[in-house]
Symmetry: C2
Subunit: 362 residues, 2 copies
């Protein structure tokens, strides 16, 4: 059994990442140790370990713990840490499979799982396909292990689990459907369908519910939150999640790669159907529309063409519209906390996180 | 809550498939009903429903129920039916992802999931990739739902679950690693590595443990089986599972497609690293080896070349060796039942299943 205790105060979200990482490393070691007849697990568990070590904000684990703290001043028990770690392992699964779907080459400055696995078999004619196939399996393993982390909670898995299960189930289903909506909206034809409603629906399921609402509710639910508290957390989390993703979309086009770790061409080349792009397409003159249609989703997009697209985003007012939407959503999120029946310490932490999330540069 | 009762006698494994299918259909309907904001679930749940309706032997659910019956004469409770249905839903996940990895076009006489999803988007330039990506998500959803089926067991999920969980975890990890081993062994270069030990290791994890041992143990464990009974079931299941797969491999090369529903060229074209192929490669003369090396894993393999390969399998004695291995493993499985501490009715059912599994023609 893995146990984890912390002597830090519960209202310092900063200590959550380290605690969750330690729990994940211990859990992965346990998986290897429990199957001595399967040495291949060294490879798979090692890759997950490397992905964790390579970075990540652990925003979902942090929100899960803050969710607990929004309901009670008691120290979070094992079940909360397990749930937080489970969210992070689920996230690794989602990243691995998303990177396959997006054909991404790097993640957190390292080769993506399918590229790394292909490189291991570079002597084979089918190395690229083998890399993708093995990465599908790695993702499947991470998904299954994210359930094991919940299941092996001690003491009292049953009561905690039965409380949290419907939320975990909802989180998973919503995230997978959100990814499907993203697939449907993206690609070379995306620029032909300027649909702000569809773009916002992707954000709702792929980010707002998955990254903010469900993790917070999961932690709160484990603490025995009532429907009023859960609704208050939702009223905060959904607009904040939308603001968070809208900021991400702006950083994907205008960000500083040295801070974000991401190219400012990838989203444009992928034809990601963002609110930014959809708004610009709706407002564009025929000449501007032509710049967008020939550039968005074009895998061979040049920096010069990307620069013209950025000018169109500004000239149509799309960039300003998205900035305004971010401010508006952030205000909604903060307003939802004003009379929320949540512990004051957690409310203060949530306010600080909201401001940080929407003004960030990385 | 979904309930299921049966008035049939517990020692008629024939009624298990229908009962499990009914439970799965109800479960899928519940998933759709519980997310009215996600109409996309109609598509995904509908595809899983169609896969179930298209066929399948339900061998894992049957063995799970027989596992229960090997320990007790009591009627299997809800938890056993849930576990049985969960195994089948897990199997659908495995089929969907395996078919992506094998680039298979048909399954149970219908288009595979990724082909079917590609066809839905045939108006898009990226239809094939979109089909694969959406099918990865469909498999992920089925994997997650296979856990939900266990979790939503009533009454008494906790006690049953905590008993069964380590076995379910082992089954999943072993199956995924087994598939990885299969990927490593198959492909255009497979004929260059005649490795019977590797071929048998794939069988052990991808079939013997996944299809026979773990489902039986899962049902027995839910009935409170002791280590002696679990060991006896393992001693029966592992050789039987190997015999089952060896028969499958022979049917994949020599079977009647009208009975098996499978082409007798697919396994050869895929370069599946079977014990049959590895044995033939080890025993082949240089001329015979050349026939094998140019044919196995050759996507353009002709029926004439396949016919020559079949002759080499016979002339090297590989076909006879595999037939002998099947008989030997079947005898081992049956001998394991002789003094096993299992209920007589279940033992009789297991004997009948062993004989049927290794003499089957489909």
């Amino acid at each position: 059994m893995i146990t984890l205790t912390t002597s830090r105060t519960p209202l310092e979200p900063d200590h959550v990442p380290g605690a969750v990482e330690a729990l994940l490393y211990q859990f992965l070691d346990t998986q290897i140790d429990s199957s001595p007849d399967l040495p291949e697990l060294d490879l798979f568990a090692g890759m997950l370990r490397d992905m964790i070590a390579a970075g990540g904000k652990r925003i979902r684990p942090v929100l899960c713990v803050v969710g607990w703290q929004s309901v009670t001043d008691r120290q979070p028990p094992q079940a909360v840490w397990r749930a937080a770690a489970s969210l992070e392992l689920f996230h690794l699964f989602a990243l691995i499979h998303d990177d396959i779907m997006d054909a991404s080459m790097t993640r957190r400055g390292q080769p993506t799982a399918h590229c790394s696995l292909a490189a291991r078999h570079s002597d084979r004619d089918d190395a690229a396909a083998l890399g993708v196939n093995a990465a599908i399996l790695l993702g499947d393993l991470a998904l299954g292990w994210s359930y094991d982390l919940l299941h092996t909670t001690r003491p009292g898995p049953a009561r905690h689990l039965s409380r949290a299960w419907p939320l975990f189930n909802a989180l998973r289903t919503e995230t997978l459907v959100g990814q499907y909506l993203d697939l449907l909206g993206s690609g070379p034809g995306a620029a032909a369908r300027p649909d702000i409603t569809a773009a916002r629906r992707v954000i709702r399921y792929k980010t707002a519910k998955y990254t903010c609402e469900r993790p917070l509710q999961l932690g709160a639910h484990l603490a025995g939150a009532g429907t009023t508290a859960l609704a208050a957390l939702s009223a905060y989390a959904l607009p904040l999640g939308e603001a968070f993703q809208l900021r991400d979309d702006l950083l994907g086009v205008y960000g500083d790669p040295e801070h974000t770790g991401k190219s400012v061409l990838d989203d444009l080349r992928e034809g990601k159907h963002t609110v930014l792009a959809a708004t610009a397409l709706q407002r564009a003159t025929p000449a501007q529309a032509s710049v967008l249609r020939t550039g968005l989703g074009n895998r061979a997009l040049t920096e010069a063409h990307a620069s013209t697209i950025r000018e169109v985003f500004a000239a149509t007012g799309a960039r300003t519209a998205v900035e305004n939407l971010i401010s508006q959503r952030c205000e909604e999120a903060l307003a939802a906390l004003d009379h929320a029946p949540l512990r004051p310490g957690a409310t203060a932490a949530l306010r600080a996180m909201a401001t940080a999330a929407v003004t960030r540069t990385a």
